[in-house]
């Protein structure tokens, strides 16, 4: 995360621009930067995606492992999130430096998915009370240039869309012992329904207005931001105020409204894009980091 120093004059320039719905890079207040998505980039995972948003780069890998369900909810699988702020992004993250940010980000992700409809956890159950699929969602931050939350949530959605969980057969012998057998056929797999997976929209309050997808400069001018996780039908699964300042209740309501509108509009093109990429299947040229 390159630290930016913004002088007073620059701040005034950015603030006045945003007041007139024109940002430093020419965007309007509700526009995202250029975004690139590619799925299936790491073959050791069950699903992966790479998202770049401006200079922010995120890689998400999903691994499915068989585990034991939680005692209170025996008939459901669960998700585990881990955010690795690698030193690649900034030397400050070296050693244990990135851990704090990593836990903060993963805590938000747990909150975003802590409801019954974001992901059908029942479909991850193998045999109630004994075995279930645990989806390890590992986020790797490669470069930070503002708006981490949005980039991560989009990458997670894309990676879950790409996730292929092998089918399992349970055979039980005469003594009541159960044996789990994984399907050998790589095409015989289960997909995760990602329709309801929310996307996070971060709204940054700059002056009297708020902007979507703030750059680091804009973030330096703002007092506080609001993050909102929105599903495709407009349900809000998580909202949170971040950043040092406080906000007026009225502006929170305005920001929620914008967040919902922007978030809802984000889902349709994203799903279309993912399906398009999926339909290319073998004809697709994998670029990864090579371009």
């Amino acid at each position: 995360m390159a630290t930016v120093q913004v002088s007073e004059a620059e701040k005034v320039y950015i603030l006045h621009g945003i007041r007139d719905d024109l940002r430093v890079d020419g965007r309007g207040c509700e526009d995202y930067r250029h975004m690139e998505i590619e799925t299936d980039v790491v073959s050791n995972t069950d699903g992966s995606a790479k998202v770049t948003l401006g200079h922010t780069a995120v890689l998400v890998g999903v691994k499915a492992e068989i585990g034991k369900p939680r005692p209170m909810i025996p008939n459901e699988g669960y998700l585990e999130f881990f955010v690795d702020c690698s030193a690649n992004a900034t030397p400050e993250f070296e050693g244990r430096g990135g851990e704090e940010l990593g836990t903060n980000l993963s805590n938000v992700l747990y909150k975003v998915f802590s409801n019954k409809h974001s992901l059908d956890l029942h479909s991850l159950s193998i045999s109630p009370g004994e075995h279930c699929w645990v989806l390890y969602v590992d986020v790797l931050l490669l470069q930070c240039d503002g708006n981490l939350y949005d980039a991560i949530s989009i990458a997670i959605k894309a990676a879950l869309f790409n996730t292929k969980i092998p089918r399992v057969n349970i055979t039980s012998d005469d003594e009541g012992g159960k044996e789990i057998e994984l399907s050998d056929d790589p095409y015989d797999c289960m997909r995760v329904n990602v329709e309801n997976v929310p996307c996070i929209v971060t709204l940054c309050k700059v002056g009297h207005r708020h902007v979507v997808d703030a750059t680091l400069q804009e973030k330096a001018c703002s007092v506080a931001s609001l993050i909102i996780a929105v599903t495709h039908n407009g349900t809000i699964t998580c909202s949170r105020k971040v950043g040092g300042g406080s906000l007026d209740p009225e502006s929170i309501f305005e920001m929620t409204e914008t967040g919902k509108r922007v978030g809802k509009a984000l889902h349709a093109p994203l799903m279309k894009l993912l399906q398009q990429e999926e339909s290319l299947s073998k004809k697709r040229v994998r670029v990864g980091f090579l371009c």
């Binding site: 209170m72 836990t103 805590n107 802590s114 409801n115 019954k116 349900t235 105020k241 406080s246 209740p249």
Partner: protein, 272 residues
């Protein structure tokens, strides 16, 4: 302590038997009166008991009790910063630390700070920071610690209230007090200041959508310093929920003010 690896011990992970035989009763129904007799769909916060200045060694402290939720908060400082390389010449540093006592929840909580505690600490920090005049304390650090003695729901909301009271008791300059209030939405109805069961019971049954919301509010400045929601809510319910929580904060305000004046009076009795 070195553990004896040679002896055969119990399983690595143990679970409380409470969880296995746990059957949430009708308390979670979205209709009818609440378990503790409070009203649904109304700003019916639990009556609170609040006291200031009970920890003599801390600069400031406060204790809050709302129903069975009991918290204690201590403030230390302002003092020199621990990490010299991060000394800020223009403003002070506020550090927050929220911990659950091992016996505070139905399930035993380990002493080591887990990710839930860290998350709450961060939320507390976010909520308190806008209220404290940190520029008055350059190159120094103010430590706020909150210990949850018994968690019977809405721990974060009461932690915010309690910590801001402790800050005020410590004589730290603040723009305003910070009050916290939380709300649980179940289907189309809501409960204000939910109890532990109302907060966590959804995990087991109920097909209805639900959501939780916590707001930290600066009453005299009319500003929201902390907001957190999870679960599922529509935009309208979220907006309405925030309004309800603000109302809940205002209900708490006179009580907190009274406690604070009482503490000040005791510390410096009016000379007659």
């Amino acid at each position: 302590m070195p553990t004896d690896t040679k002896r055969v011990r119990g399983p690595d992970v143990s679970q409380s038997p409470v969880l296995l035989g746990y059957k949430p009763a009708a308390v979670l129904a979205s209709r009818g009166p609440r378990e503790d007799g409070r009203q649904r769909d109304q700003v019916d916060v639990r009556p609170v008991f609040v006291r200031c200045g009970l920890v003599s060694q801390a600069k400031g402290s406060a204790y809050i009790e709302a129903g069975n939720t009991k918290l204690i908060s201590c403030v230390y400082g302002p003092r020199e910063t621990d990490r010299k390389d991060e000394t800020d010449m223009k403003s002070g540093r506020l550090t927050t630390d929220v911990r659950f006592a091992p016996f505070s929840c139905p399930e035993r909580v380990p002493w080591i700070q887990g990710s839930q505690d860290k998350d709450l600490s961060l939320m507390l920090h976010e909520s308190l920071q806008p209220a404290v005049c940190l520029q008055r304390y350059p190159r120094s650090q103010i430590d706020v610690s909150v210990m949850v003695l018994e968690n019977s729901g809405s721990a974060l909301a009461h932690a915010v209230t309690c910590a801001s009271l402790a800050l005020a008791d410590a004589g730290i300059e603040m723009y305003d007090l910070v009050l916290g209030c939380s709300l649980q939405q179940v289907g189309s109805s809501y409960v204000v200041d939910p109890s532990y069961l109302e907060e966590n019971g959804w995990r087991c049954n109920s097909s209805e959508s639900r959501g939780g919301l916590t707001v930290a509010f600066l009453p005299s400045l009319n500003q929201i310093s902390g907001l957190q929601s999870d679960g599922e809510m529509s935009e309208e319910t979220l907006t309405a929920g925030v309004r309800t929580c603000i109302e809940g904060c205002y209900k708490l305000y006179p009580v907190i003010q009274k406690v604070l004046t009482k503490a000040v009076r005791r510390a410096a009795p009016p000379s007659t």
